[in-house]
Symmetry: C2
Subunit: 218 residues, 2 copies
């Protein structure tokens, strides 16, 4: 193991896992469960994806740590808004500091395990409402991790300047099994197709002219 | 509540708590338990200090998250080295990424709770072996948190350029009950007086010519 991939189970991180392996890394895939509505589904997707790629998988439980964090994405938060990702209502799904926390924990784990890289699926499409997915955050967090680990660990974000379509194109080339991924924010087994997360995914498949292999609720 | 103080239960963070209150903040004190040898003692000290200052206290359990992190400070690590803090052996007590992780979690909690500041007890005396206590780390982490929270949260480290003696002088002026604090790294009720952490504390009291009110093992 020489790299850690933050694997949520969505299409971005699934593609990052495939990309890391394609580029010769031997990754440990790490998922987080933190009390969100979609954790049960995305955590299972992450486990399935890691198994598909024969990558070791570790699920880190932050449900106690992040209990009470205010967000509609959380199990005890309000309803998941429907509509386009850029709608103001989607800001309700921001989980305070989530990527700061995930990257920080992975930096300690990477140092402890001797891995030099943490691969993240953050991309330009997330920037409008998610402050902790912007290039300026990535640059500062990468600096903080390098300083705080004595330059033992660094962040890698292969799609930082890309978007969902860039990612999907790369993933299709790599044969990523998108049927195994989970993108929907809602607390239901079949993806809704209506939340901002589903909408952005469907737009990417539509833009490329490929059918999304995931089944959607009628 | 308008600030969070990271309260380990040691003399640095106890002084930071007193300093924050003196400067008009209404802090939530937060401790972490992560599987170290001295957690049971320092967590109790943190709770006692928060009670002394009538500050709300929350203990965040990271023992699952940081399980397996390699350090002699951890319960399953090797023995705590004795001798001066600057001895190479004290590097064995570094816990990979600990302050990165603590600051990250507190940034999410602060954002969620509407607190704008996270007060930390990091200081110059820690810099030699602890990469995540250096000013360069502090500056980068502060930047990462400001970027990642949309400038809602920032770090405050009143003793960043000071050392244990600076802190003790300020704390004595503020009447900090140092008898309640816990500094020793070892897994024993009475402080050992021999580990680097105890030695640095004792040196500070000695430099000022004040008796340390904590009882040491014979």
């Amino acid at each position: 193991m020489n790299a850690i991939v933050s694997l949520s189970g969505g299409m971005d991180s699934a593609t990052v896992l495939a990309d890391a392996i394609d580029k010769g890394r031997k990754p440990l895939a790490v998922g987080f469960t933190y009390g969100s509505k979609h954790n049960p589904y995305e955590n299972q997707a992450a486990a399935d994806l890691a198994k598909h790629y024969a990558a070791p998988f570790r699920l880190i439980d932050l449900s106690g740590v992040m209990r009470g964090f205010k967000s509609h994405l959380m199990a005890d938060g309000g309803p998941i808004p429907e509509g386009h990702y850029e709608d103001a209502s989607m800001a309700q799904t921001v989980v305070p500091g989530r990527n700061i926390i995930f990257a920080a924990i992975l930096s300690g784990l990477a140092w402890s395990e001797g891995a030099e890289e943490i691969w993240l699926g953050i991309h330009q499409g997330d920037h409008a409402i998610y402050e902790d997915c912007r290039p300026s955050f990535y640059a500062a967090m990468n600096q903080a991790i390098q300083e705080g680990t004595g330059k033992r660990v660094r962040l890698v974000a292969p799609f930082l300047d890309g978007n969902k379509t860039t990612i999907l194109k790369r993933g299709l080339l790599l044969g990523v099994p998108y049927s195994l991924t989970r993108t929907c924010y809602k607390d239901q087994s079949l993806a809704c197709g209506k939340c901002g997360s589903c909408q952005e995914r469907l737009s990417a498949f539509c833009a490329i002219g490929v059918d999304d292999p995931v089944e959607y609720a009628p």
